[in-house]
Subunit: 237 residues, 4 copies
DNA sequence: AATGAATGAGCGTTCATTCAT
DNA sequence: GATGAATGAACGCTCATTCAT
């Protein structure tokens, strides 16, 4: 029993990776509608039958892509969460990671959006669905962990009855909403929003300030910190 | 010469309304892909040709629905913005309106989401496109107007270089993102977010607190205020 | 009983003329497929029902247009046939008329072509069909009359068993074929046929020369004659 | 490694041939408008999808048919042009080939006519378009080659400034026009043209006589020659 | 007489999926 | 295991024609 995979298995994995790569590009370029098994097969220079041996329907491909995306996001969040410093600084680092994720892997982000808009669930295997939920959970958990650290250190207080997850939900919504609007609107500038990414950062930090999370953004230049994180942690991501 | 429309014209309008009503339901139930002219026609018990006499392609229907939705939202925002009280209270009123909008017209909100995800623009008339942009602009304008009022009264200060629109963009993102996640996730509860709508409210208010907007949420029970607005202004919307 | 038409009748006729005018333009611009009752009605700013009161189906319109075209051609041939001179000169005059017809009324010619390519006959009234056949007959008759004049004057001889109509059929074919090819080919120049209209003229005259029709084209400058006819007879046609 | 095609490939080719055969019949029976992918599929007893795997749109089928037709015509012209004898006799042989073509492959001729009347070009591949143009060119070239031979041997003279191609254009027009009229008119007999094919032959020969091409039709029985060619060269075409 | 809403068969085309080879 | 021919339902859309008003 070889520790390494057989050649066949290796080829199979490589093919699968190529399918996903192609699918990702397609999905982000032409959307859910534009992604077709025919096209993938043609571009792969494999037959459709072969594609179906890897993914038993179109939706499975999309869910697999979503899993890749979430895995990447998770990994980046994990990296960011290790940033040395007080919890609020680590929150900023995660914010930087989220920024970096959208900027550096726009196709991944596009997949995340599509998965939220198209109804994919009925036809997909519960295994992949669970994997996706677990990724999502772990992402959330990383962030809520930092919140808990902040609470433990007395850097912030939560309103009665509110959980760390509630706070994270706010940040998540803000981030996801901002990039969704950003991606789908071309009239932001006309409406006085000339630098939406900066506006997003401000909003995040003011929200945390609103929770009284120390050090407040008047006391620490989180903008500079985020740039630093992006440079140092994700320079060659 | 009747001041009112002729019977024919009335019938036409009613039919058009029915098409939109059906389209709206379909769109929110089965999404952009599931909406088909065939299905609309079948369900209307009219022929396809008749539908096409009202809307010259599928995308026009969707854009018309989006315009309805934005018009409704605009109207609700306008109403909320007249709420008596200090600017920050009026902001809360608008927040309540946004909540009410999604809750009371979930189909309208679904349309707003779909329009952001599907590429509809190429086939639609520029007239409808402009109408939509203008609605969006006016919505934004209402809210940024309240921000300006707050600034004028010295209730809040904006960071250097940031515009009222930037602040509004944050709230908009937060709101849109929260309801998008809320709508497309069924595992929030499992992840510790048991009441996402309440979490959204908190996030909004903490963000405004973060801008130092008086009166802060410690000083005024905005939750109660929002409930009051929903009861008094939108009771029978 | 008024000698003149009533106002209603006049209006009816004018409307009918407008329908045909519009139909003719459409037919020549977008072909048989592009001609639609919808479009005619829209452009006329009349209702479809009204159009149908004039022509009970699409094909009737086309046949009516064909009749107009043939009537015009007939009229031009009649005019040309009165050209003073020997029969062969009158043949040249008719050739000039045919040229003029295509050049000056390209839409009429387009209709003649369409009528030969689309199957229109099944749905049209026998009355219009007969009118068309009679026009065609009379056109032919004019030309064959000139041939008979030539024969009578001993200017040409026909091979045994051949009729004047056979000769005319040749000219007709040549003319119709040349303009059909001309209209539908854009590569004539590439194939060495730089001036097809001139080539057509030559072919015609050489054919008549081949019948020994006096005066032969070596003896009389038929090219100049045709130009003269076009100038003098059809200057302001 | 088989020199011949695999069974699959053979089947594919056969199916393609059947599609074209069916298309040809349809086209000649019900015209461009009557030809529909639905009907082809139904009559083939294959699904529409299968048809589309061979031809990516309707127009491609028609152009393929046109290419078949032109290829056949080209081949027949090439055969005829090898007829032993003086150039003018070879011209007659080509005339016989043209006759044989229309008589023996009326569907091919019908396709040639349809391609001249319907606008097919926009949707078809440039490859097929070029093939068609090249066939046309080569057809023309064969005939103009014979004219050049005649010129070289001093059998005819061309008017100043006229090319062999101009002469060929005349014959082409004559032939194409005659068969077009013949095909679309059922009243020729009533108008004194009892044998239009014979009339066409006469016209051709008189035209060549008009160019003084030796031997003239008085000196050589081209009618008999053409029959001989049809019998000997195309007996079992 | 005039209208135009309504029809509905038909069109060309796409595409996820199956399955014999 | 890989192939790709075959499927067939579905799609968006057109248009000649009818007919109640």
């Amino acid at each position: 029993m070889p520790r390494t995979l057989t050649r066949k298995q290796r080829e199979r994995q490589e093919r699968e990776a190529r399918i996903l790569e192609l699918g990702r590009t397609m999905l982000s370029e032409v959307g859910y509608l534009g992604l077709s098994m025919d096209r993938i097969a043609a571009e792969m220079e494999y037959s459709k039958g072969t594609i179906y041996q890897h993914f038993c329907n179109k939706e499975e491909i999309i869910l697999a892509l979503a899993n890749e995306a979430l895995e990447k996001r998770l990994q980046m969040f994990e990296q960011a969460a290790t940033w040395p410093g007080r919890p609020r600084e680590r929150m900023a680092a995660i914010g930087a990671a989220a920024e970096e994720f959208v900027e550096h892997y726009p196709q991944h982000f596009a997949v995340e959006q599509i998965v939220r808009s198209a109804s994919i669930w009925e036809k997909t295997s519960s295994q992949r669905q669970e994997f996706m939920h677990s990724c999502e959970s772990r992402c959330l958990h990383i962030v809520s962990g930092v919140v808990r650290d902040g609470l433990a250190q007395g850097d912030l207080k939560l309103p009665a009855g509110r959980t760390p997850e509630d706070l994270v939900f706010g940040l998540w919504s803000l981030n996801f909403g901002a990039y969704t609007i950003l991606t789908s609107s071309d009239s932001l500038g006309d409406n006085g929003i000339s630098d939406p990414v900066l506006a997003l950062r401000q909003s995040q930090h003011r929200m945390l300030d609103g929770y009284g999370w120390q050090p407040l953004s008047q006391e620490l230049d989180y903008m500079a910190l985020m740039d630093q994180v992006k440079n140092e942690v994700f320079r060659d991501a």
